[in-house]
């Protein structure tokens, strides 16, 4: 080199970035800790911090966490999935229906029995499989619209939001009740005092984290979101990558829908309304950029927990649900503004 590189400036940049990254990670965990402390002090008898309530918080955050993991994958590719809440409802009612009455279609006067209703665990297994399949299929349709027909993710998933919700109500006007006990266990059972949904959420988080952080596919997801053209010119199958993130998001929503139906002992076609907003909020709070290319599963988990703690703590303090909405909105706004400041610094 004949000219000295501005190495020191680069070093300074890096140091600043490192600090910024640490700070934001710390800020996120710090916010969570601060909120917990605040609620611990302000709630009567410090009931917030009692283990029973903390388990409650985890349980209440579980559904959103599952959905938000899939949402994070989608948003990192610079996409969005508005259909997750509707998929929750569709899968909830459909899987419960398959368990209770099997799978049949009525065409005119004919009734075609595709699957009989099976007693016991067999029926539950088939219901779960059917739920996963429907969730994945909905995601696949999203992906086809986006990848094959170049519809923007916002519009494609907005359409699916309507389609899935409508399909859920078409399938069953009223909630499907009398679901098998084995299924109810998925939502209400406990293992070592911790509700099963928490384990399911932890499982989804671990799988999501492994995929995004540790596999070539995860690297593809970041590259596609960071610079789609560069990714394509590096031989990354851009279309296939997008396809799988939407399928993954549909699967996550499907799992959430079934756990939720199990919790409520009923597959209600109305389930999951506005859940897409909480999932997006969790991802964005956790540092996922809507521009794509940036975001982590760990951040999303922290984001989901912050939302869960806020919900739980504010309710305990008897803050009205409308005031809760205002506060949550402000927290999300503040977090994103801070995050963008850090990015531009």
């Amino acid at each position: 080199m004949t000219t000295p590189e501005p190495q020191s400036a680069e070093d300074r940049d890096t140091a600043a970035r490192r600090r910024g990254e640490l700070l934001s990670r710390f800020a996120l965990a710090g916010t969570l800790a601060f909120l917990c402390l605040l609620f611990a002090i302000t709630t009567r008898d410090h009931v917030f911090i009692k283990s029973a309530n903390l388990i409650n918080v985890a349980s209440q955050s579980a559904i959103n966490t599952m959905i938000a993991v899939g949402m994070t994958l989608v948003i990192v590719t610079a996409g969005i999935d508005l259909s997750v809440g509707s998929i929750v409802g569709l899968v909830a009612v459909f899987s419960a229906g398959v368990m209770v009455q099997g799978l049949d279609f009525t065409v005119g006067a004919y009734r075609v029995q595709l699957l009989p209703e099976l007693p016991g665990l067999g029926g539950v297994a088939i219901g779960l499989a059917a739920g996963l399949l429907v969730g994945a299929l909905a995601g696949l349709v999203n992906a086809l619209a986006i990848v094959r027909f170049k519809v923007t993710p916002f519009i494609a998933t907005l359409a699916m939001m309507l389609i899935a919700r409508g399909a859920a109500h078409l399938y069953s006007v009223s909630p499907v009740r009398n679901v098998p006990d084995a299924f109810v266990w998925l939502g209400q059972g406990r293992l070592a005092q911790v509700p099963i949904p928490v384990y399911v959420a932890i499982g989804v988080v671990i799988v999501g984290w492994l995929i995004l952080a540790k596999t070539p596919f995860g690297r593809h997801v970041y590259a596609v979101g960071g610079n789609e053209e560069a990714a394509r010119l590096s031989g990354i199958p851009v279309g296939r990558t997008k396809l799988w993130v939407y399928v993954a998001s549909g699967l996550c929503s499907g799992i959430a829908g079934m756990v939720l139906a199990a919790q409520l002992e009923a597959g209600d076609p109305k389930l999951g309304q506005t859940y897409e907003l909480d999932a997006i909020a969790a991802a964005v709070l956790g540092g996922t950029s809507l521009m794509g290319g940036r975001g982590t599963i760990l951040g999303t988990v922290l984001g989901a927990l912050i939302i869960g703690v806020l919900d739980n703590g504010l309710t305990m303090l008897h803050v009205s649900s409308f005031a809760q909405m205002v506060i949550k909105g402000l927290v999300i706004l503040g977090a994103v503004i801070l995050d963008q400041k850090r990015q531009n610094a």
Binding site: Q7, P216, G226, N227, A230, P237
Partner: protein, 503 residues
């Protein structure tokens, strides 16, 4: 129009303009003078500094030093609005028109005539017709701009500039997309405006146009002002010599051909509208340059070989075998790599780290049992950071924060990591400082010694002559000629590239 003082002081005088970008001196003490009713051709190779100079004039970029006088008065141009205030208008290649709006709405955009608070379309139409008539445009005021031809849109841009009392009009490569007929009309308009006392800067690579329209020629080279002279005193060869006429820099290493097996053969490759029946070969251990002007189809050929764009016909053979290449993925699996001209837009994922970018095109190589191996990744990245002397504080440093030269090395490292046999480099040293350039030349030689085939697109003739064993020259989508290194001179390449008669 022309008073005594205006005759004495030029309409525009840019003096001693300096401008640096990180790692690059873009302009150094550059002068540009335009008198009322004068057409000044601004010429120079790509990267000579023309665009930067114009951006400074338009207020799109701040200058580091120098002064700008308009009508003899010092002018401060800190923002595009300042330039407009002074009557300076630039017609870029990319038009600033809203395609969905009509001609008159575009011309009066942001300053619509109103009556009683409502847009007065009648007044607008009247004013617009007058303008269009003045410049001889066929377009009507109520035509939607997006449906007009490129030539018509250009006239609308000029009409818009004139409606804002442009005194200084800069035309950046106005002829690039025009047919001969359209060009004739543009020239008629320019002559007309010259009569009306408008000062014009005409930027073009096509020398014949310059001789036809320009009164004065100003040549820039490597960010320096070389010469300003009346067109009548210059010959075509003079201009070419001034444009390229630097000594062959000694920092370009000499290379020895290891003529060997054919690594890449392209036969009759055609993509309609971009290039036609292009054939070329590159042998192992050979560096072949693809020269030509910007827009001659070089980049398009490279992208087609790499599968980034579809082709209409033609064959591509890699290592003697016909290769069906429908995507970059196919090309990479055949052992072809492409380092694009636009590093930031197409070559790198700026928000990812150095190591992640280096391994991006061959993640399989660092995957163990389905999962990325951090150890394998660090090992690979470390090796290339070391070998290419990529200056980065860490392997996780975001490439966005690296200098241009180091970014380019990351791109090269990415392709070396794929162990490709054919490497296509599109303007590999564009925007890179001299030191890093030399390193990249050395690297190319080294790769060549190791038997890689390199196809290099470059607009810098000394680079082409200094690095390549063989040179293809393209012009307007056609392969215009092939030169061996011994026969090649800057003048011969330029003649082929510009369609010069002297061959």
């Amino acid at each position: 129009m022309s008073t005594v003082t205006e005759a004495a002081a030029p309409l525009l005088a840019m003096r001693g303009i300096d401008k640096s970008f990180p790692g690059v001196r873009a302009l150094e003490a550059v002068d540009l003078t335009v008198h009322a009713g004068e057409v000044v051709a601004l010429v120079g190779e790509n990267g000579a500094g023309k665009s930067t100079l114009i951006k400074i004039l338009a207020g799109a970029q701040p200058m580091d030093g120098g002064e700008i006088l308009v009508g003899g008065q010092p002018a401060r141009i800190a923002a595009p609005a300042d330039a407009m205030e002074l009557g300076i208008r630039v017609i870029y290649q990319e038009f600033n028109l809203v395609p969905q709006l009509t001609v008159m709405e575009n011309i009066y955009l942001g300053r619509e005539p109103t009556r009683a608070g409502m847009v007065d379309f009648h007044a607008m139409e009247e004013g617009c017709s007058g303008l269009l008539e003045r410049i001889g445009a066929d377009a009507r005021p109520r035509d939607v701009v997006g449906r007009l031809s490129v030539a018509q849109q250009q006239l609308v841009e000029i009409a818009k500039a004139l409606s804002q009392d442009a005194r200084i009009l800069v035309l950046d490569e106005p002829s690039a997309t025009l047919t001969d007929r359209e060009l004739d009309r543009l020239f008629a308009l320019i002559r007309d405006l010259r009569q009306q006392g408008v000062g014009m800067v005409y930027i073009s690579h096509r020398l014949e146009e310059i001789f036809e329209i320009a009164d004065t020629v100003t040549v820039l080279r490597d960010g320096h002002h070389v010469i300003t002279a009346p067109t009548s005193e210059l010959s075509r060869d003079d201009i070419i010599r001034h444009m390229v006429g630097r000594e062959l820099q000694d920092h370009i290493p000499s290379t020895v051909a290891h003529a060997a097996d054919e690594a890449l053969r392209v036969e009759g490759l055609t993509r309609s509208g971009a290039f036609e029946s292009v054939s070329l070969t590159v042998r192992e251990g050979e560096i072949v340059a693809l020269a030509g002007l910007v827009g001659s189809g070089r980049t398009e050929v490279a992208r087609a070989i790499f599968g980034a764009d579809p082709v209409d016909s033609g064959r591509i053979l890699v290592g003697g075998e016909e290769a069906q290449i429908a995507s970059p993925r196919d090309a990479i699996s055949r052992g072809i790599g492409l380092a694009t001209e636009d590093r930031k837009g197409q070559g790198l994922v700026l928000g990812m780290g150095v190591a992640a970018n280096i391994t991006l095109a061959d993640l399989r190589a660092i995957t163990r049992g389905g999962f990325l191996s951090r150890g394998a990744e660090v090992g690979a990245a470390d090796r290339y950071v070391d070998q290419l002397q990529i200056r980065t504080p860490s392997l996780t440093q975001l490439v966005r924060l690296l200098s241009g030269g180091n970014q380019q090395k990351v791109v090269l490292a990415k392709w070396l990591f794929t162990d490709c046999r054919v490497l296509i480099l599109d303007e590999p040293t564009r925007g890179i400082d001299v030191g890093a350039k030399t390193e990249i030349y050395h690297l190319m030689n080294e790769l060549c010694d190791r038997g890689k085939a390199i196809l290099m697109i470059s607009s810098e003739l000394p680079e082409v002559l200094g690095v390549a064993h063989r040179i293809y020259v393209m012009r307007e989508g056609h392969m215009e000629g092939e030169l061996d290194r011994e026969d090649a001179t800057q003048e011969r390449i330029m003649h082929l590239a510009t369609g010069g008669a002297a061959e």
